[in-house]
């Protein structure tokens, strides 16, 4: 949610060999790859390395797959995986829904729409720290959420983040508020890339707005919907700041998604080896959508 990650963007169909052969293309790559190796590559390798050891001080001992085995036999791991799935599905669904509704409504050009569109994007550029602080106060016993509920006749003194049944939905709602503009932007761009002529042709053929949307517009948007969902799912499952700052993973581990658990393992239990193994597992998990996307893209470009 904090960042879009342009997975797969720009993998273009192989071009005919009009490219000039050149001995020195690698020179162009050196700065970028040096930086990547330095900041991202080294940590990944170091994590993989540490996950096979006891990772204690200067006396790391090689323990093979022991960390992974103990991880896979820990009930908390499965609890955390399940939570991460709930979290990701919940956040993605809400964000997509809100983003899609807003995009459909904003797919026009009027004075009102032009003024309102940029405002709708603001939650997305706000730091997670800010959003977390705001929503923590909203969810208090005497917070905004309860007073809004009492406006519609529901009197509640629920402390939403302090209850293990409501904490996860509460955090999901806050994340949906912050992240929905991502889908709003992408879906709006998608809607607007469907040529007006196509829609008007459908209208002339007697289709109403809904039929036009379903029959003409949506099929053309398949690619952007899939792309946005893949990106959204990766960003959401990796998301850390907001959950950690709102609940720290509690109460009773009710919001302990994998990244939060990873952070707690590394910085509260100081179990670097376990944390490293967990990072490797998370990396493998988030690679799944990437690979699916890449394979799909390859197929498309081969066709």
């Amino acid at each position: 949610m904090t960042s879009i990650k342009a997975v797969g963007a720009g993998i273009s169909p192989r071009r005919p060999a009009s490219r000039r052969r050149n001995a020195g293309p690698y020179v162009w790559l050196i700065p970028a790859f040096a930086l990547l190796l330095f900041v991202v590559g080294y940590p990944i390798i170091e994590n993989i390395n540490a996950s096979f050891t006891t990772a204690a001080g200067g006396t790391d001992q090689y323990v093979g797959l022991a960390q992974y085995k103990s991880m896979l036999s820990d009930p908390l791991f499965y609890h955390s995986v399940l939570l991460t799935i709930y979290w990701t599905v919940g956040v993605t669904a809400l964000q997509f829904l809100l983003g899609a509704v807003a995009a459909l409504a904003a797919d026009r050009s009027s004075w009102f729409v032009r003024r309102i569109r940029p405002v709708l994007i603001i939650p997305w550029v706000l730091p997670g720290v800010v959003v977390a602080n705001i929503w923590v106060v909203f969810y208090n016993e005497d917070g905004l959420v309860n007073s809004l509920l009492s406006l519609v006749g529901i009197h509640s003194d629920q402390a939403w983040l302090a209850n293990q049944n409501t904490a996860l939905p509460a955090v999901i709602l806050a994340a949906a508020w912050k992240g929905f503009p991502f889908y709003f932007l992408l879906l709006l761009a998608g809607l607007q890339s469907v040529p007006v002529e196509t829609r008007e042709a459908a209208k002339i053929d007697g289709a109403n707005s809904f039929q036009t949307l379903k029959g003409v517009v949506l099929p053309q948007m398949k690619a952007i919907v899939i792309t946005s969902l893949v990106l959204g799912v990766i960003a959401t499952s990796n998301y850390f700041d907001g959950i950690y700052l709102m609940t720290g993973g509690g109460p009773s581990n009710a919001t302990l998604t994998l990244p939060v658990w990873l952070y707690n393992t590394a910085f509260s239990e100081f179990d670097i080896a376990k944390a490293s193994a967990l990072s490797v597992i998370i990396l493998l998990i988030v690679l799944v959508p990437v690979i699916i996307r890449l394979i799909a893209q390859r197929k498309r470009s081969r066709r």
């Binding site: 930086l35 001080g57 402390a159 293990q164 720290g248 509690g250 009773s252 707690n264 509260s268």
Partner: protein
């Protein structure tokens, strides 16, 4: 942006310079004794520690002690990362409850061979239980700096308003609970009992922990081989805490700092808190018309104390060239006047205790009494302390919410706790 290649080259050059710089600094394993010492402490807003360090540097010409202060909230992280990276302080103040995690990972080296055990550092000058809590696996990997004991603090004026007479030095669970309930009955803005439910160490030291101990129970057996959460004593402790918690705000369950309770306590809206003297509302926070401090211990059988304090440790990566300056510094730091200046809590040495004149007012008597009689840990120090504390916290949260019976929650916790002991 006009010359991308130049930027790239510059970035590469910069990266190479940095690498070279790091090589030269890490390979300097000189044998000559160093006169420089880097000390890390959690941020001390009072400036006492900084003043002491400045005084040390003045009175010890040739030595340079540099102090690095890191905000409390980030302190454990910073230490853990520094120890793991093998780069950081030469000596550090370490949270007594985090200490076992570091010690079990081999991050700390035996301190007595470095600083000696004569004068103020003589074993007999330390409180035995604190000294023992600063050891791990039979090795003295740290020295205790201070301790904090905790008692049930209450607001005499608020309790009087609710129709409760002041407690004696000890009191029963039933009296405490009925008092808390009466305060709650005064209205929605009143909390009978306020607690910090979202922090694992509070769970151990101020919430479930003390009440389990006070009930005659424990978290595990003495041999540290088996959890004892399925005992009636543990259940009684958790149940009592649950009833007390019900007289407070629901949001206490995820609170992570005591300041909310302390402020309410001083402002006359919180009846009781189980806390140390450092959280007695200061004069500027307590309104004189609404607040008068009372202190008592629940149940009259045992008294109880947590270490709740800090220890001093030397990381494994510190080499012998630093031992001379370490010895000089630590011996000076434990001089009675200095150790009192170094800590705002109760010094861990007996000579320090005698010098702690600021803590001699009658309201501190109950804390000294506990410290002298029975300073013990609610949870024995071991390598998996953090995991155990997290487990106890989430169990306590389940119990308070009543999503399952106390017995069922504790039975579940028993299994999980046992798993941490077999590791």
């Amino acid at each position: 942006m006009r010359n991308i290649r130049k930027i790239g080259v510059a970035a590469m050059a910069a990266a190479m310079v940095l690498t070279v710089a790091s090589c030269s600094s890490s390979s300097s394993g000189s044998a000559a004794p160093s006169k420089e010492l880097s000390v890390w402490i959690p941020s001390d807003d009072s400036g006492r520690v900084a003043a002491y360090i400045a005084a040390f540097n003045t009175s010890h010409p040739g030595y340079t002690v540099t102090l690095r202060q890191i905000p409390f909230a980030q302190y454990d992280n910073a230490l853990g990362q520094a120890f793991r990276a093998g780069q950081g302080p030469d000596i550090a103040q370490i949270n007594g409850t985090t200490f076992p995690s570091f010690a079990s990972k081999g991050y700390l080296q035996p301190i007595v061979p470095i600083v000696g055990d004569t004068g103020e550092l003589a074993t007999a000058n330390f409180y035995p239980n604190l000294y023992q809590a600063a050891a791990f696996d039979g090795k003295q990997l740290s020295l205790p700096i201070d301790t904090g004991t905790r008692v049930m603090q209450y607001n005499k004026k608020l309790l009087a308003k609710a129709g409760v007479a002041p407690f004696g030095e000890t009191t029963s669970y039933a009296d405490l609970l009925s008092a808390a309930q009466k305060v709650r009955a005064l209205g929605d803005k009143y909390q009978g009992f306020c607690y910090v439910g979202g922090d694992k160490w509070y769970t151990v030291n101020s919430n479930a922990g003390p009440f389990v101990i006070q009930s005659g129970g424990a978290f595990m057996n003495k041999e540290q081989t088996k959890a004892t959460l399925d005992t009636p004593e543990a259940e009684a402790g958790f149940n009592f805490f649950k009833s007390m918690a019900a007289t407070g705000d629901k949001s206490n369950l995820v609170a992570t700092a005591s300041s909310t309770c302390v402020e309410g306590f001083g402002a006359g809206t919180v009846g009781m808190q189980f806390d140390g003297f450092w959280d007695i509302p200061s004069k500027d926070k307590a309104s004189a018309t609404d607040f008068e401090l009372g202190q008592t211990m629940p149940k009259d059988k045992t008294t109880y104390s947590s270490t709740g304090g800090w220890v001093l440790g030397v990381p494994t990566y510190v080499k012998s060239d630093k031992f001379d300056v370490l010895k000089t510094f630590v011996n000076d730091m434990y001089a009675p006047k200095n150790i009192v200046q170094f800590t705002g809590l109760m010094p861990a040495t007996k000579s320090g205790r005698d010098a702690a004149t600021a803590l001699k007012a009658p309201q501190y008597d109950i804390y000294w009494k506990i410290l002298n009689e029975n300073a013990n840990n609610p949870i024995p120090l071991n390598a998996n302390l953090v995991a155990q504390a997290n487990l106890l916290m989430s169990t306590m949260q389940s119990v308070i919410q009543g999503t399952q019976s106390t017995k069922a929650a504790l039975a579940q916790a028993q299994t999980a706790f046992d798993a941490t002991l077999t590791k």
